[in-house]
Symmetry: C2
Subunit: 369 residues, 2 copies
């Protein structure tokens, strides 16, 4: 695994990147032909063994495996991709504003989960980060036309989103990652019932005595935004409470702060607010604190995501937690099955959890109005 020290030392001063490339290129790749020769069989035999198909005697298989091992050979993904017309790679296109990117709790965990599902099957993940819709369309187009991937995940789905069809028309398999009941044109949707978390949250606030519960929405149009809003609204109705004030925001901290001020400026401000994500909720706590409103004594706050920071802010944030890693793994397994034309596994995603911490508390008696 190491170059001899003296070689490295000798080259160290004069070595330019170009030289290095040339040097490494010198090491001739070992191919299936070399393995076949060493095992005294044909290339086909080697291929058969490595794709475990019948038609090779136990003795031959044995020799082939040993030869491959001796030579440290592994089929080249490049060559295999060409002859099988399949890349064994899938794509994920992330569209995010820079502001939200580094704080988004979803994608890193989702990717980690996807990775688990993919590596089991020896698939790779090709990632693309774009900043607008235009870039996203181009990305899928390129991924498909250049045959870089066999399938893609679709996230951040909007109501009436045409991407599932568009992408399928490019010849790619598609798995849509969206809340369970999302209304999309997709064949396959993998999602959790995240609205359940919001319902639990509203019930929790109700049991603490809150009767006037507001909501700060994320970017309108996305199915997860709407699912959360609807869950909040439906639960209020179900509990016989008035549907409280809603303000539209965009998942950023600044929008969460602004929305909170709007709600607190109302003639009759809510005593509790359910936010579309943790970032807005935390910014909301900050906004309230700035106005001298104490959390949770004067205002209860519920977030969504359970980011790792949630327990460490003041007060610790009550929020909703999804198992995003499991979600990603399920999505990956499904997509691979789809690509290979197999029946996707029956998957049960773990349910959403509601985590009670310090940002929610009992209502006080009505403040003097």
């Amino acid at each position: 695994m190491r170059y001899p020290d003296e070689v490295n030392a000798a080259e160290h001063s004069t070595l330019t990147p170009g030289d290095r490339a040339t040097r490494t290129a010198g090491a001739k790749r070992v191919t299936i032909g070399d393995v076949a020769a060493r095992a005294g069989v044909s290339k086909s035999a080697v291929s058969f063994v490595f794709n475990n198909r019948p038609g090779v005697s136990a003795a031959a298989r044995e020799r082939i495996l040993r030869a491959a091992d001796d030579l440290g050979w592994q089929p080249s993904a490049r060559a295999r991709a060409l002859s099988r017309s399949r890349t064994q790679a899938v794509g994920l296109v992330i569209r995010r504003e820079p502001e939200l990117l580094s704080t988004d709790p979803f994608f890193p965990l989702f990717m980690a989960g996807v990775e688990i599902g993919l590596s089991e099957q020896n698939y790779s993940l090709v990632l693309q980060v774009v900043k607008d819709q235009h870039g996203e369309r181009d990305a899928y187009e390129r991924l498909a036309r250049e045959s870089r991937v066999d399938g893609v995940f679709l996230t951040d789905v909007r109501a009436g989103d045409t991407r599932p069809r568009d992408v399928a028309a490019l010849g790619l398999s598609v798995v849509v990652v969206a809340p369970e009941d999302a209304d999309t044109e997709a064949d396959v949707v993998i999602g959790m019932d995240d609205a359940a978390g919001v319902r639990r949250a509203v019930h929790h606030l109700h049991s603490l005595g809150h009767r006037h519960i507001g909501h700060v929405m994320g970017v309108p149009g996305y199915v997860h935004t709407e699912a959360r809003r609807r869950a909040w609204e439906d639960t209020l109705v179900e509990l016989g409470l008035p549907v409280g004030p809603v303000v539209t925001a965009d998942f950023t901290g600044s929008s969460g702060a602004r929305a909170t001020h709007e709600l607190l400026d109302l003639p009759r401000p809510p005593s509790a607010i359910v936010y579309g994500n943790d970032l807005m909720a935390i910014a909301g706590i900050s906004a309230a604190t700035d106005r001298g409103i104490r959390v949770p004594e004067d205002l209860s706050v519920v977030g969504f995501d359970d980011i790792p920071l949630a327990p460490y802010i003041v007060p610790p944030l009550t929020t909703v937690r999804q198992n995003v890693v499991a979600w990603g793994t399920a999505a990956a397994q499904t997509l691979v099955s789809l690509v290979e034309g197999k029946q996707p596994p029956e998957i049960r995603l773990p349910s959403v959890e509601f985590v009670v911490r310090g940002s929610t508390g009992p209502t006080r008696h009505r403040r003097p109005s």
Copy 2:
């Protein structure tokens, strides 16, 4: 881009994934041969045009481009990879504990930056998330042996890290992503002088009257952890201040809280603490607040990263900001040059910023001891 509605409707009920795969496979791929035929030239001519090499008349080039456009053809990355023995893809392996993954401000931004640098050159990014050192080694091994990528980024470098050599020995080009002065065995290191931010932070605290400044380190052994610690220490020495207490933590919120308690439990606790990242700093504020110690009146806090939440916690966090996106772009451009044997561009990374917010303030007179 859409299937006729009636077709979709008819299939909707009975469609299984397997069927879909078969259906889409029916659409015959258009190849370089088709384009050549349509333009009335040989495949070579088409290839020449698309790799802009000389040897094709203007007229022919014109016809070829139009033919390709008409047919919507684009060279297949699969085929190109095989014949050029190059994938036009590079790899990034992320090793992170689940706890840190969703809160890590570095990787998403870095990836976004990398993406910018890569897409300019039509390269793709292959991502792998692993959870331990063993998985990481396997990941590089697989990436190289299966010829999935031409080069990789190396992050989270430790002092004396052998990965640069190991990976180069696999025949991959390598760019090491680490602070400027990192001591590694790599040919190419792309980094920022992030220690400068810590120096600025210590000077700032000094100017506010602090004379007793502690530090909470991240995971020991990493070059960025050590660079920050060293910057803190060197600056104290330079200012003629005693080198304050240091506690080792691991970049997680819980470790930051614990470390903070340790520092505050000291017979003579520091009046200011510099943390290795924002997450620990925020957890530190929370820990201090729990003990009735006010920030910044009783304790000043400085973080590192400037996560989007930093302005929205109470009090807003003073911290150090690096332009991670630019860093990623630079790393990507360098890696591509390396892969292609070209001279890497001369790159000037923007310098680190120090952002003063509310978590730092003047010292009060010495508290009764």
